[in-house]
């Protein structure tokens, strides 16, 4: 299932395009081929469990890729966003609360996205407008979100209706292996998939994407050709917050169906690892998100059917241990350079 995304890990690397096949690209493609072969093998061996793991993979990946896209828009513009965790949590809370009170899942999603936008704007105001240290600005969001949602958390409240249900996409859903995993999903998953493709094209091909790269790499140069660096950074960081907001709504209304304390559970930070591993491109990030999602799904499946006699807490560590190993081994895929102006506030002369 990562066959399509494999080569993209490499194409995504260069803003100026790719010449020939780099070793990283060969590794990515080889890895993708092996992965597809394995998945196919397991599917032949135990169809039901493989389908369940693949479904779980896509479910976990959706949240991660939304967060990663939020992070990459910011980072490509030169702003580090470590507040994704807080953006997830806060928007999950408002999405759930609004959906529960109004009885409309759609209004819940609107509330979640709006919350994400508002938090994105707050991050922009702190790190772009006031030129606060960006790490501190993000931390402020995380702490605020945890505090506020815990304080207003209402244990007794329930959604009062079923969460978003799967929609079968006709015959596509009957495909072997990927049918259920990709084409029999609830609506926000489809939306996220569309956003991945659209944002990928926009970032790499559009005028907006090019200007975004410019303000993250060399804001001074962008300013000399008439690009309003501050304004574009504000817009980008704010709009990116909407993606994290959608992630929060997805978490509460589609993935879980309720709100619990600190339910984002570190996945906002994991999204940053996904972003870096995906080389700050949406398709790359989706490939990475599927990989991390797979470890999450596998972990869930292990706990479910007691395959190994290991305490659940240790099995639950799997995604995080893999994160550490993978990020440490990411050198295998070639070191990627950060945007040159990342983390540096821009000051108009």
């Amino acid at each position: 299932m990562t066959a399509g995304a494999g080569p993209d890990l490499a194409t995504a690397s260069g803003v100026a395009g790719v010449r020939g096949w780099s070793p990283q690209r060969m590794w990515s493609v080889a890895g993708a081929v092996v992965l597809v072969a394995c998945v196919w093998g397991f599917y032949a061996w135990d169809g039901a469990q493989t389908t369940a793991v693949l479904g779980g993979t896509v479910r976990a990946a959706t949240l991660l890729v939304l967060g990663a896209m939020c992070g990459m828009i910011g980072e490509r513009s030169g702003i580090v966003n470590i507040g994704i965790e807080g953006q997830f949590l806060m928007s999950a809370f408002t999405a759930f609360t609004v959906a529960s009170m109004s009885g409309s899942l759609f209004l819940g999603v609107v509330a979640g996205v709006s919350t994400g936008l508002a938090m994105g704007w707050m991050l922009a105001a702190m790190s772009v407008g006031l030129r606060t240290d960006q790490i501190i600005a993000g931390t402020v969001l995380n702490i605020a979100a945890l505090g506020l949602t815990s304080f207003f958390y209402d244990r007794g409240r329930s959604l009062g209706q079923p969460k978003y249900q799967s929609i079968e996409l006709g015959p596509l859903a009957d495909l072997p292996v990927v049918g259920t995993a990709l084409f029999n999903r609830p609506p926000l998953t489809y939306l996220a998939l569309v956003l991945v493709v659209v944002l990928h094209v926009l970032l790499l091909r559009s005028v907006w994407g090019m200007r975004t790269t410019a303000i993250g790499e060399h804001p001074g140069a962008a300013a000399t050709v008439g690009i309003d660096v501050i304004r574009l950074r504000y817009w980008n960081v704010t709009l990116a917050g909407g993606l994290a907001g959608l992630g929060g709504a997805y978490l509460a209304l589609e993935s879980v169906g309720t709100f619990t304390r600190a339910m984002s559970g570190g996945r906002g930070f994991l999204a940053l690892a996904v972003m870096i591993f995906g080389r700050r491109t949406p398709l790359g990030a989706y490939a990475a998100a599927l990989f991390f999602g797979f470890t999450t799904a596998l972990q869930g499946q292990f706990q479910l059917n007691d395959t190994f006699d290991i305490p659940a807490q240790f099995v639950g560590m799997l995604p995080f241990v893999v994160t550490i190993i993978v990020v440490a081994a990411a050198g295998l895929f070639g070191r990627m350079r950060d945007p040159a102006a990342l983390g540096q506030p821009y000051e108009v002369r």
Partner: protein, 550 residues
């Protein structure tokens, strides 16, 4: 957008400033300055650092608003509130530090901010076509699809020029455009600028290099301390006269051994040159003397650059006591990595370095210092000084841990301060007191502080990297004298400089570095700039220049 430049009615004056005055606090950067640029001409703005050249062009380009005076663009009085106003009126700037986005392609860099578009996407075909048209028309050839970071500096500069032309510039302001170029690239650039003037473009050319002014300018305006001190043309003046105007007194840079002239200034004082050559010639000759001990001995040294590419490639070099060996080369040919590998700032991947017969391969910076090596690093802000520390603390950065500056793990403030006062007095560092932060000093005074620090201990070897970059002639003069003094006192000196003039003026022996190797050794007394320029550009050394120095 592109083809209009020539067809419009010719304005009489392309760009002018009348009575421009600009103050920054108590500092008067421009005092009633008037300049005028007409179509098809090259106006050279000449002056030392701090003379007000940059302030003036920043006013003309809309970056600063003048306190008094009038800016004129294309015969019209204008008020510029930002560079965009200037750009919109056809004024383009070729910045000294290129305003390019390194990982983006040439085409994208050129069209950035004024992109041809189709449904919000960049119309790549059209952008590419326009860029190629422009490149063709002005003879500025460059690969449109290459990433800017992969291009040599000369090509990056062409991109910068194309960027201005793409925006219909009829005036190009070029800020020290030759600072980073080889002599050949410089000649090429001057040709390109000439070609632009033939198509009606006017050029403001900022420089402190007299030779280029004499070669390229139609009109010359000399600035000193914010005022216009001379308006002339190359036909009416000479390099010596310009130098005197620029500095305000006759300049003596000593050891200016040939007519072509270091910074072209030396020809002002031929008598002193003769005197200089007579006295230390014995020293200079002795430099080749095998009796003198080899102080720095590098054999088969290899080192990688920050991207992991080999930058120094099996390089071998000897520097003897009492000689200055100059390393000439275009920046980025491994000079930085060579210096860092010698001084312990960079890991050498192969080869040996020995200093005064002691193995210093893989030594840490402090060990290198303790052996008796002085290092004037190329980036004084990054490696030379700690800006927020006081002048006093900076004056002992290389020795604060030793007696008499430290005892029992505690710093001896009194000793440090009195040492700092010595350095400040001896090396003419202009600072209110030794407690001021190093950041508050001007570039030239920072550099004098570094030189003072490195010279205040006994050293056998001096590594001087770009020792006079970006400082005024007075300070250059001072530092050159000090380096020569050290040489005459028996110190071995390795001089690395991007300024060929500096290398030629100071060195007893010149080695040319190209792609991490030493491709030739030449005698600065006989070699010409052209020969060395070719070697710097990678031409195979001819027999006549490879035999020198031995």
């Amino acid at each position: 957008m592109v083809a209009t430049a020539v067809s419009q009615a010719e304005p009489e004056v392309l760009l002018a400033g009348h009575g421009i005055t600009k103050c920054f606090g108590p500092v008067v950067a421009n005092d009633d300055v008037s300049v005028e640029l007409r179509p098809g001409r090259i106006l050279a703005l000449l002056g030392e650092n701090g003379a007000g050249k940059s302030t003036l062009v920043n006013v003309l380009f809309g970056l600063h608003r003048p306190d008094a005076g009038q800016v004129v663009i294309a015969d019209e009085n204008v008020e510029l509130s930002s560079p965009h106003d200037a750009i919109a009126r056809g004024v383009g700037m070729v910045h000294q530090h290129f305003q390019l986005v390194p990982p983006m392609s040439v085409v994208r860099n050129i069209v950035l901010g004024a992109e041809p578009r189709k449904l919000g996407m960049i119309d790549v075909t059209q952008a590419r076509r326009r860029v190629l048209e422009l490149a063709d028309r002005f003879g500025l050839h460059v690969d449109p699809d290459a990433a800017v970071e992969d291009l040599p500096v000369g090509a990056q500069q062409r991109v910068e020029i194309l960027k201005a032309l793409y925006r219909d510039a009829r005036v190009l302001i070029a800020d020290e455009p030759t600072a980073v170029l080889t002599p050949q690239e410089t000649d090429h650039l001057l040709d390109v600028l000439r070609g632009l003037t033939a198509q009606g473009v006017g050029i403001v050319f900022i420089t402190h290099k007299l030779r280029e002014v004499m070669a390229a300018a139609d009109d010359i305006v000399v600035l000193r301390e914010g005022k216009v001190v001379g308006t002339t043309t190359p036909a009416q003046t000479s390099e010596a006269a310009l130098a005197e105007l620029m500095v305000g007194r006759a300049v003596d840079l000593h050891g200016d051994r040939f007519e072509s002239g270091a910074t072209g200034v030396g020809s002002a004082a031929p008598a002193e040159i003769a005197a200089d050559d007579a006295a230390p010639t014995s020293e200079a000759m002795a430099a080749d003397d095998p009796e003198r001990p080899v102080v720095l001995d590098i054999a088969g040294l290899c080192a990688d650059d920050d991207r992991g590419q080999r930058a120094v490639d099996e390089l071998s070099l000897e520097v003897r006591a009492g000689e200055i060996v100059g390393v000439a080369g275009v920046e980025g040919n491994g000079q930085r990595e060579l210096v860092e590998a010698i001084t312990g700032l960079r890991h050498a991947t192969a080869g040996t370095v020995s200093i005064s017969d002691r193995d210093a391969s893989g030594a840490r910076p402090r060990q290198v210092t303790v052996i008796g090596v002085g290092h004037i690093p190329e980036d004084r802000a990054k490696h030379g000084l700690i800006g927020s520390y006081s002048v006093a603390d900076n004056s002992v950065l290389n020795r604060y841990f030793k007696r008499p500056f430290a005892a029992g793990g505690m710093l001896r403030r009194d000793r440090i301060d009195s040492h700092a006062r010595d350095v400040v007095a001896t090396f003419d560092v202009r600072t209110p007191d030794v407690e001021s932060p190093a950041d508050s000093l001007s570039g030239g005074n920072k550099q004098k502080l570094i030189v003072g620090r490195e010279f205040s201990d006994e050293i056998d070897l001096l590594i001087a990297a770009q020792p006079t970059r970006g400082i005024d002639i007075g300070a250059i003069e001072f530092i050159w004298h000090r380096i020569r003094e050290r040489r005459d006192g028996g110190t071995a000196v390795l001089l690395v400089s991007a300024e060929l003039d500096e290398v030629l003026a100071l060195s007893d022996r010149v080695v040319v570095m190209y792609e991490g190797r030493i491709v030739a050794t030449v005698d600065p007394r006989t070699a010409t700039r052209e020969e060395i320029g070719l070697l710097m550009a990678g031409a195979a050394p001819g027999t006549e220049c490879s035999v020198a120095g031995g």
